[in-house]
Amino acid sequence: MSGIERRQAQAGWAFVTPALAVIGAFFFVPALLGLLLSLTDFDIYAIGALENARFIGLRNYARIVADPAFWNAVRNTLVLVVVGGPLSVALSLVAALLVNDRLTRWKTLFRTVYFVPVVTTLVAVAITWRYLYHPRYGLLNHGLGLLGIPPIDWLGDPHWALPAIILLSVWKNFGYNMLIFIAGLQTIPEELYEAAELDGAGPWRRFLAVTVPMLAPTTLFVAIMTMVGFFQVFAEPYVMTQGGPLGATTTVVMFMYEEGFKWWRLGVASAVSFLLFALMLVATLVQTRLTRERR
């Protein structure tokens, strides 16, 4: 190693050490400790004195898997992922196509407007939507009433509470995916569309034959990011429904939060977080596999 190389290597380590120390100490180490924690009966007594925690093997996992409340949270979370995910991706794609259209004027203005919900504070807009969803005074039911649709008890009816949360999430997040789709659309060479047009393909045919396949990698990326987001929903039910009515909006993260910070069963809560992690990994693999097979 020459002097210059050695100096660069030293500088390199010096430059990365602070960031690596933070990421290591406050992200990787806790994640590993979490695995250990999930194998103990860590509870409120152990917070007072660590020696009260005992190693209990996989008993937390066995307990969770036997708990109907956990499966209810899993079911709710999967509904968010399976219904909210595709809905969000589809709406984002439509918005991107509209904004990116050759005939569209004031592109940046529309892009910015659609993006604004993304940067708003989730807690603030969740509180706002709670009032918009009010069965009697809410603007949403009022608007639907003008179309002749009878009032819906959005957050009070177990059948509607989850769709209500999906609607809010889709509104909040579609602008982010829209931007990524616009970036993807802009990488598609114009010649492909011209060639398809020469072959006599109409707009719909061009969309299916050019846009969809060329956008496939972007779509996979967006779908996975959206899915990961829906797996981690917490603030919306926390603020809007406290997980109710009748547990209809309790998500896995909310279940974990309550086990950990309401009942102080940190061992159990930690096991829940690893089951969530496993669920997310499996879902990501399935999603990737499905996309590959279709091609």
Partner: protein, 274 residues
């Protein structure tokens, strides 16, 4: 009218309707915040305040001490941003341009971390912070976000484009690596640092779950945590809650509008790496 003009007209009608729907909840939030107590809960639901009043803002800033929470949020968000830009900036550059032994292996390990959800570490982190005395302090909120894999990665991708000749020329002039970073590299990577700063500020300001966990003293609550608490006590005070929501979300919207070019470019560049 030609077919093309008709098409353009329909397109813009849809775009504008879409935009109106997107903005409606936020506009209603602002409008309701100026209504008199109870006015929002009347039929038919009013769109605009009959006699606009500032009383809810006055109540929030005097009786409910929202200034304190604004201040808490500002401290947390500004410090997080400064640390994030400095730490991720230096590390991202080093991963791109300063060869050191073990660099690729460390980087691969970091990428694995992108797949681990934050929640997995939250409970142990809480216990660690309790031991360290960081629970219920500003630092407890700030420290975990001082550096992050995503931000580091963003800077690295950008810094890869710095020409080596530029760095070598500075080295031949006898400049040290820190001096090179300050005088040669910083001006080149400034745009991505602005983007990173915007990301860091917005996510620190909007963050809810971790501040909720780590802060127990009401006086230290950031705005979103304080607002969630307030909404439990004041469910029926719609107009007051909307004023609180405006105060919470207005600062981030303003920051976004100022930095929107950098922010939007950052999101769009994020897709290319995927």
């Amino acid at each position: 009218m030609s077919r093309r003009a008709l098409h353009a007209l329909a397109l813009h009608a849809v775009l504008i309707a879409f935009a109106a729907l997107t903005l409606a909840p936020l506009l209603w939030m602002v409008s309701a915040s100026f209504m008199r107590p109870g006015e929002a809960a009347s039929l038919p639901p009013p769109l605009l305040p009959k006699a606009p009043t500032l009383e809810h803002y006055v109540a929030l800033f005097t009786r409910l001490d929202v200034t304190r929470h604004l201040w808490n949020s500002a401290i947390v968000a500004v410090l997080t941003t400064l640390f994030s830009v400095t730490l991720n900036g230096m590390a991202g550059y080093a991963f791109a341009k300063l060869p050191f032994p073990g660099r690729d292996r460390v980087f691969a390990l970091l990428l694995i971390g992108l797949f681990i959800p934050l929640q997995v570490g939250m409970l142990p982190l809480f216990l660690m912070f309790k031991q360290l005395g960081l629970v219920n302090t500003y630092w407890g909120v700030i420290v975990p976000s001082m550096a992050g894999i995503f931000g580091l990665f963003m800077v690295r991708q950008y810094a890869l484009a710095i020409p080596n000749d530029l760095l070598d020329a500075a080295r031949l002039d006898g400049a040290g690596e820190l001096a090179i970073f300050r005088t040669v590299v910083l001006p080149v990577i400034a745009p991505i640092l602005v983007t990173l700063g915007a990301f860091a500020f917005l996510s620190a300001w909007n963050d809810f779950m971790w501040p909720l966990i780590v802060l127990s003293d009401e006086r230290l609550y950031t705005l979103p945590v304080a607002l969630a608490g307030l909404s439990g006590e004041h469910v029926l005070d719609i107009e007051l809650m909307m004023a609180g929501s405006v105060i919470t979300t207005l600062p981030v919207i303003v920051v976004f509008l100022i930095l929107q070019r950098a922010y939007i470019q950052g999101v769009m560049a994020g897709s290319v790496k995927g």
